[in-house]
């Protein structure tokens, strides 16, 4: 079995002769991403993201009473994340429940959001973020984090900004953006990161594999570029959920009838009577010498 894999690894060409990748993308090209906000009824906020072959749901509850109680912080809210993969989300059935990998991912995502949520506004509470991977195709933590940002905003949790996440890596010696499953399995390095787009702060950074310092810098440039594009998609999802047209507003609350013009004039007159202009001081107040 092991020999088989090594055999495949040697044979596997991930970059075509023309420099394109197996799925036809250029090195700096993102897979198709679609984000939808407000998809669940019970959750306080939710979002669904399709990112290449990834399908990920995110939901937010809170700020609500923190459980277990001994975790409560009298000064600020906790930001707790649970990243979970459905048993059928991968090709070999994953046993239900948390494993070491998902516990680690949950932790780093919690920490990423902790730095943007205004925690001090909600002492003793917990903001609970749930990320469910329904179908996995590499980059699930980035997809989950990007969706969870939208879910937090959908829940109305005050934040400094959305968080946006994307990975870069190296395949066949070429630094590429947003690896898919084959590229992740047979590639040389993978480097997921998350940033706060308005400030450029990096709130999540992981790396495995082998990158030179130069390659790492290239990867970061790619990821940051992608993050700005994803940021626009996140904001667009929220706009689609919450934007209202003039027609919507008029339907909700038709404008009050404007009072007839004459009444308005009288009202203005009344105003004038109530507040007479202060009388000008007599000219000789300046004294004999003038100014």
């Amino acid at each position: 079995m092991m020999e088989d894999i090594e055999h495949i690894e040697k044979e596997m060409k991930l970059i075509n002769a023309d420099g394109s990748r197996l799925d036809g993308r250029k090195p700096d090209e993102l897979r198709p991403v679609r984000i939808e906000a407000g998809v669940l009824r019970r959750a306080d906020g939710s979002a669904y993201i399709e990112w290449g072959g990834n399908k990920v749901l995110a939901a937010v509850y809170g700020p609500r009473e923190a459980h277990p109680r001994h975790l409560q912080d009298p000064a600020r809210a906790l930001v707790q994340c649970r990243y979970n993969m459905a048993p059928f989300s991968v090709s070999d059935r994953k046993r239900p429940g948390p494993d070491r990998r998902s516990v680690e991912i949950s932790k780093v995502i919690s920490e990423a959001f902790s730095s943007v949520v205004f925690k001090e506004q909600f002492p003793r509470t917990s903001v609970d973020i749930f990320i469910e991977v329904l179908q996995a195709d590499a980059g699930t933590r980035c997809a989950g984090l990007t969706a969870a940002s939208v879910a937090l905003a959908d829940a109305g949790v005050p934040m400094r900004d959305l968080v946006t996440s994307c990975a870069s890596g190296k395949i066949d010696g070429v630094v590429c953006l947003d690896l898919n499953k084959e590229e992740d399995n047979f590639g040389d390095a993978d480097c997921p990161m998350a940033i706060v787009p308005r400030t450029g702060e990096i709130v999540l950074l992981q790396m495995d594999g082998h990158l030179t310092f130069d390659e790492f810098q290239k990867a970061m440039v790619l990821s940051i570029g992608a993050a700005t594009r994803l940021y626009e998609l996140q904001r667009d999802a929220l706009r689609r959920r919450y934007s209202v047209t003039l027609e919507d507003i008029l339907k909700e609350s038709p404008p009050a009838r404007a009072p007839p013009a004459r009444e308005l004039d009288q009202e203005l007159d009344r105003d004038r009577e109530v507040e007479p202009e202060p009388p000008l001081p007599p000219e000789d107040d300046f004294g004999a010498e003038g100014i």
Binding site: K55, N84, A86, R93, D128, Q135
Partner: protein
């Protein structure tokens, strides 16, 4: 299924409406909510279905793997059903090992499929006593708005019906669909004081005194039943519930059967 409180006002409202044959969402007492079905939602699974029953949202995935049969059934495939009540779906669900309600739910869904002989498990035998196909039905509850029994059951039936057994990658010949021979449909009724309501919404379920899930097959025969909650039914009520389940089941079955 949850500890959330239903206000006295809502209790009175639901009961007053029900006394005159009406419900909060405008349905009749024996009318289920709208069922919508998306098949093959997850392509990493061998079969899958996302079912919405009203606002209750459930995703079911089927994974097939090769393993050993049980010693007492050496020639038949194995069925394993599990439900995850993930904390995303409701403020009352918590992470952790399955609680008794999730275990009951999984077992009731499993029973309907197993006892109706929906899937011919003898065709899932590879080598008697040694190797058979194992069907894992994994039910992921995404949004909980009442009546998981029926939503999960519809999802499981639709997902099984769309399952392709991956024989080729195991070196066991060509891929083939599961041999589906029967079509069980689960219908859940709750009793609030003296009134019976089919397919309870969340509030109705939370204030219910008793619950009865009846799974019938395409002949109207009963394949599985489960009574729940602390209240009781009269024999006459049980008969009425079975008749309603047969009728409602006939309405829903074509949707599950449609490709």
């Amino acid at each position: 299924m949850s500890e959330e409180v239903v206000s006295e006002l809502m209790r009175a409202h639901v009961y007053r409406l029900a006394s005159s044959g009406q419900r909060v969402d405008g349905r009749g007492l024996d009318e289920p909510r709208k069922v919508t079905l998306v098949r093959s939602f997850v392509n990493t699974a061998e079969g899958s279905a996302r079912v919405k029953l009203g606002n209750t949202d459930v995703l079911v995935g089927i994974k097939m793997s090769v393993g050993a049969p049980y010693p007492d059934t050496p020639n038949t495939g194995v069925l394993s059903t599990s439900v995850e009540l993930i904390p995303m779906a409701s403020p009352t669900f918590e992470a952790g090992p399955p609680r008794p309600d999730a275990i009951e739910l999984a077992r009731v869904v499993d029973r309907g499929i197993r006892e109706s002989k929906m899937v011919n498990t003898e065709k899932l035998c590879i080598t008697p006593k040694e190797k058979v196909w194992i069907m894992f039905i994994d039910i992921h509850v995404l949004d909980f708005d009442g009546n998981l029994f029926d939503a999960c059951s519809y999802g499981a039936v639709a997902a099984l019906a769309s399952t392709i057994v991956p024989a080729k990658v195991q070196g066991l010949g060509e891929d083939f669909p599961l041999a589906v021979e029967h079509w069980p449909v689960s219908v859940t009724t709750v009793k609030i004081k003296d009134i019976l309501l089919v397919d309870p919404s969340l509030d109705e379920e939370r204030m219910a005194d008793a619950r009865l899930t009846v799974t019938t097959d395409e002949n109207g025969d009963i394949r599985a039943m489960q009574k729940g909650l602390r209240g009781s039914f009269s024999y006459d009520e049980v008969k009425r519930i079975i008749e309603t389940s047969q009728r409602v089941g006939r309405g829903i079955r074509p949707l599950l059967q449609s490709p």
